[in-house]
Symmetry: C2
Subunit: 109 residues, 2 copies
DNA sequence: TTTATTCATTGCAATATTACGATTAACTTC
DNA sequence: GAAGTTAATCGTAATATTGCAATGAATAAA
């Protein structure tokens, strides 16, 4: 069906999945890494940096923006993007809690 | 196209995306959380625990197994699953490095 | 040996994702 | 205003994902 049954899972589980999903494409990972690498916003050169067509980049940016991980500002003809530090921190807390679960089980398998 | 252009990204970026993708579905998140919650392997009751049909669960387990995050052992008629602690740790290192990037940029947007 | 039980696999329908050409919108500059 | 620049949106093709009924395989119980 391609349609996840989100209603049978907890909010937390859906939230984790939603964050993870957006990281589930190398282009979005690359965009975020690039935004981090720079000491400032990216204005324009993302299409050259990542090797995808402009509409494709724009689409990936939209998904990142919808989750709040980046924010953009219109700056004349171009749009500047950067990481939304507050939301990134919030995301990190949710993901860390999931990734850092304590493993107190016997390795019985 | 639905087909990611993995060849234009680094191995690291693809690896992060691959891990994230598998966490990008609440059923797989729920399965992993359940495996962690128990102090032992899960033998059988996953279908009752998560609210999806048996073939669907089986498919999600397969994806988790393919990435090495869980391992399973045949135990009579049932199969027992548990977290693969070593691989989980390896995954955690990769994901943490990505999530914990230092934010030394000016918040110019 | 028959009958359950349990999980994997197959096949398929519905929906989602990825990518990009074409176009549009908004702004600059001439 | 006309022309150029940049990024968003639209439309569409190709592929992936999700979910489950049906079936199969393997073992256990009778």
């Amino acid at each position: 069906m391609g349609l996840s049954k989100t209603e049978i899972f907890t909010d937390k589980q859906n939230q984790i999945a939603q964050y993870a999903k957006v990281f589930g494409h190398p282009a979005r990972v690359a965009i975020l890494q690039y935004l981090y690498k720079l000491n400032a916003c990216v204005c324009g050169d993302l299409v050259d940096e990542i090797g995808l067509a402009q509409p494709t980049i724009s689409q990936h940016l939209k998904e990142l923006k919808q989750l709040g991980l980046i924010k953009g500002n219109v700056e004349g003809t171009s749009v500047c993007y950067c990481i939304d530090a507050d939301n990134w921190k919030r995301m990190k807390e949710v993901m860390s809690e999931f990734l850092n679960q304590d493993l107190n089980q016997n390795d019985c398998c």
